[in-house]
Symmetry: C2
Subunit: 121 residues, 2 copies
């Protein structure tokens, strides 16, 4: 049988839009998504799930209502369920998101920054 | 409130044993574990869950009964539930495992390679 590694660099090269997470793998009901992001996102929260951010390349700021955390390459953070947050990246940043299948990027906020869900790359 | 990034390099520096996964984060019931591995592990499977391997540094071979996959830095693979596998690393390899809380490293096989579970670093 053929087994193939999932190469993150190769997957990123095939992502043609910012702020549009693409699924690269599933473990049970959990999805691993890659996203290219740049600039400011909107404030939102996910009431039903924690959300993991892992920075693969670049720098990411996660703003909270009462603080912030800055992540560089090889750093991660778990945003607890229900906590409002806003991702910001000064330059293009490449991140991996880990969260259950079905989570939408804009959470409770909706609006025109909502990306198509469950797109694979 | 204070928010702190989880730095994978810093965490690896604090892991003093090979083949002993250490938890660095949880998302819902899913744990993110780091492990330093070198040499051959034992054949085993996890009947109740898929298991994610992400190589942070080094090279990892996952052997299966009917094939194998080799992973370098920045590559990942999802071992489906129930599939027998054996990790092998020629030199020390640093990996992230993602799997539900409670999964034991030796799966169904047990034995003296079984590491303490739920150790955090």
């Amino acid at each position: 049988m053929g087994y193939e590694a999932i190469n993150l660099i190769d997957k990123f090269a095939r992502i043609d839009a910012q702020w549009s997470p693409r699924v690269v793998a599933e473990m049970n009901d959990v999805q691993f998504k890659l996203a290219k992001i740049e600039g400011e996102f909107i404030w939102h929260r996910h009431d039903d799930t924690d959300e993991v951010f892992i920075v693969i390349e670049g720098r990411l700021v996660l703003e909270f209502r009462d603080g912030r955390v800055e992540l560089g390459s090889g750093e991660m953070f778990v945003v607890p369920r229900g906590v409002e947050h806003r991702p910001i990246a000064d330059g293009e940043c490449r991140i991996m998101l880990v969260e259950p299948r079905g989570v939408v990027n804009t959470g409770d906020a909706g609006g025109d920054r909502t990306a198509p869900n469950d797109l694979w790359v």
